[in-house]
Symmetry: D2
Subunit: 435 residues, 4 copies
């Protein structure tokens, strides 16, 4: 997470101020719940809320205390005692640090996911708009980077939409994975704290109760969470790669918006580079990489060790901030993408009709030619076209074995673009629910 | 995937024979659907089914053809034509290889997942049985490898149960991710094949229709699938690590079953090593590693490139076979685990009551001592115990600042084991639905 | 490792037969060394060598024994005793299984690396040949996929050569990392075996003595080894990606050799796809992935645990066999690559001279224009060219602010291709030692 | 990279101020070299050095310009022009941004590596000191977490020393990988800049000339660099894991230093946890993870794309800062480690002599018993000891089949600790060059 690739709303979730505020709320809610259970005085809970709500937690002071006690939650509680006064001794009763840390981490992840979901909605809206705009804009479909058969630019975007729609659902699942709360004490036995406190806090924070915790909330949840972010990042890479390809000088079917005053290269003033999508490609690599340590975090020793903590202090912000930034950047790219339908048409025409080879193949088999023979006939007329030795339709017409089965008119009919687009509506209906 | 870590049922899913059989079924179903739509003769479909169903596909022959045409599906179709005769020309009409390959791969993954789900059910049953067996077997809970407070061995297993229960649900989600079918032609436009063929085949194979494909089924699905397997593997590592720790010579609270005739070491006849769980730790590393190339597979170029294929030919079998083996091995470990409650009790007693330090701390705060002072008082009586300089309870009783607030009887009451186990039923009910 | 992506010589290194033969040699050398030290009878060593050298180790029989004793080395030793007779009791004296296993694994890795080095030599030779062939074949250099300035195709290959030359050196380093031998007994103390036995075997096997082992050879060595293979694979991916780009329909400057009878697509007979380099891209992902578990293997517990073993049983063959195959495949691709200089020239000309923008920029600054103003002047004449609104040179000539500083002749001189190729010799000399 | 796990000297290398200073030096050296070649006026070079050396580059101002031009090097050059005045137009002549960026990145990596090497020297010195201190402190060697045979604590540290000594050499190799300089212009052809400029700058900066660059320095170098850091991190994890194991309550042979005022747990005042080494375990996971995107960075498109840049902006600092912190923290852990020889002895004695089983086995074979029979005899006397059913030596003495071959005195002699330590000197000499 570096400022260059960060947005303020997501970054704020990971600030010390936000963290200490959530810690306070967890502790204060616990004190209220304990007061309702008669474990601590009700007045104490009231004072904790009153003084703590008004206080600004002093990050530098907390850091100073931590340098002595070498324990962050104790440092916070000590500072809270400075604010709250003697009633502070009723705070954290029967709890362990991880009750606070893990529940807070999950609150932060839930908030982060809510931002990611909003990002995703924005991205989906942008893709949808452009997809309908170019629903019937013909362009060449490519497999292996080689011209295959015609598609539309809208179909490309429909695929992206369907993919990010799946990613949205995955994020919803991932959010559920980590939306839990544990207030279960030193080894998760509730020895010194009633399970009802956990239920109370979970409800207040919009979380589910963790069925069984062992000082910590189990890290398979977080592994699944960060693995999901890695998958989402990979889908970002896919669309980014598509744009990069489309902007290549020889292809030039679409292009990232290039603003006035922008410079593509310090040396070559003619350059307009797909730098945003290249950047997204790199960011995707990073988000993906964070899945691995998150998985290694699962096998904590016995009831817990703290090896996961340093990992999460890094990937918690790093993965969510980077993904938030990437989703927003990709949304901008899609939204403002310059699309060149004429260039698409030019490319479609570039191979002199080769892209219709399958239709000729099928027509031959319909006429009774075996699949193997038909393949051979079509291929032998296609290969010279690659070598610049003629036009595909003319070669086919001139091939006696071909025109034994297919008349010139029949052959010509196979070179119709519209033929390929007849099911675009079907696909759009499947993806968008309308066409 | 190596024989040593493979089980036959899963391995069979990935055999060439199985693959060609599924290919055949996809092609034959497609021919039937095309016949119903009037595109090919109904008799042709009947002959394809009749001859193909009886045939044993000759893997060596198919390989031989592939060496010439350098295309696996074409090789298969050529061989199929040798079996079916002239009607073979109605097979694969309007389809592209990936229609067959991708749908087949998903069928294989679905079958593999069904085995994994069955494995998981077996594992869950074993854990549940042992959890109830040891529901109230006291043992020390450890954080950081250091004695913390008492738990029960059943609670450890309840945590494992809850974790694998989540993994089961993740596998169900992962299965849904990849249970799709695409029969959409060269670039997914259905140019030469009616979408109803896809619907027909999907239904026959128990799959969902892929809403939009681009020759290939999008690989974000598979990335999510293999990432999920990586998370499941990480949970296996967690339980395996627990067993390894429990079997350590100094801990020796549990032990992998050691059979008659088994030898632990070629050099040291006294050895009984947790080799199965160490093995599982390594296998988990492998399954986890496969998530990374699966994610890199997502960003195929344009409508598709074939870089994902070599990856999937390897990780398809490697990840599912290894995970299947690991789940079965772990089930055996849990099922036959030797548990030593007396050693657990011995370890519980080892630190001379230090594990009750929190209760003394809380008791002091209840008496009006500030949290900070109480912590200091308890800690100063705990540290000598680590140095072997006395017994915790006696030291506390002898500390004038402590006994100003807590009588000997009050102190003794804090050293009660039962206190820690009062909520075991609550947790079991949460996890197992009963206690 | 699957047959499709395997070559026999490398696969043979990982066969059970090879493994048992190496095990035998280690044991037999040890017996000889022990005999020379007077620990075992000289005749015993002679008999071991004599009977063992002639024997064919029966893999099925060894597997059968292992099923009972659950220990592979003991199973082998038992089988060896069946072959050698009573003198077998002098075998493995004071050794531990890992002495055999780890030394054998390193012997296998050394042999594998020798094959990889031979592969690399073949690849370097092929690249070198094609680099000199196309040393002065002009082609456009592209940054960000956008035309930048002219290079030659030979320069592209010179870069690849330099990169694989570095990879070769890395392989040499990696070989040295794992070319060690440990015969140090149960925990590496030489308690029951004289260190001179280790020295003797090391010398016989062409290995270095492991300075300190702890039953096992430390796994940081293997982590470094497999990480290095991952880097080599990444370089393969780079060159493969270059070919894939060059073969794109719109670029079409080079192409994988397409054999007679080959079929590019089951549906579209016109297709010629870069399937070999796409395949290499996928294989690179796999080899890279194996680096991660190799690194996780380093932190074995105490003197050793066996979690590394399952990983290595898989990645040992998987990584080396796949990389061997990939290097050989890439060599074939380079060797037979179809290169189209005319298409390169056509692409060079495609942007109407835009690629000379930097030279105009520099010429303007030489005439006293500030860098910022020069940039603006050149950029404003370049951008219309992207929009298809004119020819760069003409636009420049017509710009009064430009021709205030540069005459038409001066401008024309900036559009000279040869200008860019004047240092090709320098670079070739740096890379190849000659030009 | 977060402040909690950062040290100032390493962090400073990655500050914008350092970066701009290096950029300036590269540009200024280039201007000098160009002046010597007569391309630009000597006075211009002098003025650039004079004004630039005194200037403090205004990061905020550069950021402001970048927001407009969207290009970081152009923004810097514009700011430099504000400082230098009209002579600034002679700066960056014939260069491209990557000449500056890549050379600067490598300078930063070289400096970072020099810090890492100094860290490593500190770590090696600490390990060496403690190794000699405990050269003959007996302790149990453990394989699989199970007692094997005696070693010394010094031997454990000797192994760590040898491992980090290898890591040091790997860092030296990694430094050489990235210690290169490229000043070769827009696509690496030196079209607009004489290769002698590159040679001049390389010499001034203590770098080697990059033999062939393509606008960028090839990223296989950086992949190797970051992979190496990942291996070093894995070795850190190994030693950290050893300490964590030794500190376990049941083992308690060593312990991280625990300072006055430190608190191990907010809830349990008795706790002393190995939090530093657990923390190192997590940090190792992070550094290892960064190797993966670094490898994915290798396959840039054609002469370059910029996808590597976002990755490197993150992992450049993240990996080096984290590793620097981790090495320093580990050095502190080793330096101040509390070692408990009495507890080591207690653990050595714990299994009642079982650890001598191999010697009895070997003694029996020396007496003519077959290896298989000897194994069986020893194992049947060892297994009851695990079950707490007697003492190993007594059981052996009472076994008629054993004492047929070995007298009581002979058996007792096999239980001598000193026997295992006779080659400690040999190993120390191998590792440290002295004993």
């Amino acid at each position: 997470m570096i400022p260059r690739y960060s947005r303020p709303e997501m970054t704020a979730i990971w600030s010390p101020e936000t963290k200490f505020r959530i810690w306070f709320e967890i502790e204060a809610h616990a004190t209220t719940a304990l007061a309702e259970l008669g474990v601590v005085p009700k007045e104490a809970a009231a004072i904790v809320w009153e003084k703590g709500s008004k206080a600004v937690f002093d990050v530098a002071r907390i850091d100073e205390i931590e340098r002595e006690v070498k324990h962050d939650v104790i440092a916070f509680l000590t500072h809270l005692a400075e604010i709250v006064g003697p009633e502070a001794r009723f705070v954290h009763q029967g709890m362990t640090s991880s009750d606070v840390l893990d529940t807070c981490f999950n609150v932060q992840l839930v908030r982060a996911t809510d931002l990611l979901l909003a990002d995703m909605d924005g991205l989906l809206a942008a893709i949808r708009r452009r997809a309908f705009e170019h629903k019937m804009t013909p362009t060449i479909g490519r497999s292996h980077g080689i011209h295959a058969e015609p598609v539309t630019f809208g179909l490309k975007l429909a695929q992206a939409y369907a993919e990010f729609d799946r990613c949205r659902e995955r994020l919803v699942n991932a959010r559920r994975e980590i939306a839990t709360c544990a207030i279960s004490g030193a080894v998760g036995t509730f020895a010194n704290i009633d399970p009802r406190v956990e239920e109370y806090i979970a409800e207040k924070l919009g979380l589910a109760v963790e069925p069984v915790s062992t000082q910590v909330i189990p890290r398979d949840r977080h592994a699944m969470y960060f693995a999901t972010l890695g998958v989402v990042a990979s889908s970002i890479e896919r669309l980014a790669t598509e744009v990069r390809h489309l902007q290549r000088s020889e292809v030039y079917e679409a292009e990232e918006f290039f603003s006035e005053g922008q410079k593509g290269s310090s040396a070559m003033p003619h350059k307009r580079n797909p730098v945003l999508t290249e950047n997204l490609t790199g960011l995707a690599r990073m988000v993906r990489a964070y899945a691995m340590p998150a998985m290694e975090n699962v096998a904590l020793w016995h009831e817990r060790d703290i090896s996961h903590s340093s990992v999460e202090r890094m990937i918690g912000p790093d993965a969510t901030v980077t993904l938030d930034f990437a989703l927003a950047r990709l949304t901008g790219v899609v939204d403002k993408l310059l699309v060149y339908p004429e260039n698409m048409q030019k490319n479609l025409d570039r191979l002199g009709g080769l892209v219709h080879s399958q239709r000729v193949l099928l027509a031959l088999t319909q006429k009774g030619v075996s699949r193997e023979d038909a393949y051979r006939l079509v291929q032998r007329n296609a290969m010279p076209v690659w070598r610049g030795e003629g036009d595909f339709l003319s070669l086919l017409k001139a091939d006696p074995e071909v025109n034994k089965h297919l008349s010139d008119a029949e052959l010509e009919e196979k070179f119709d673009l519209g033929y390929h687009l007849k099911h675009v509506d079907t696909i759009f209906r499947r993806v968008f629910g309308e066409a």
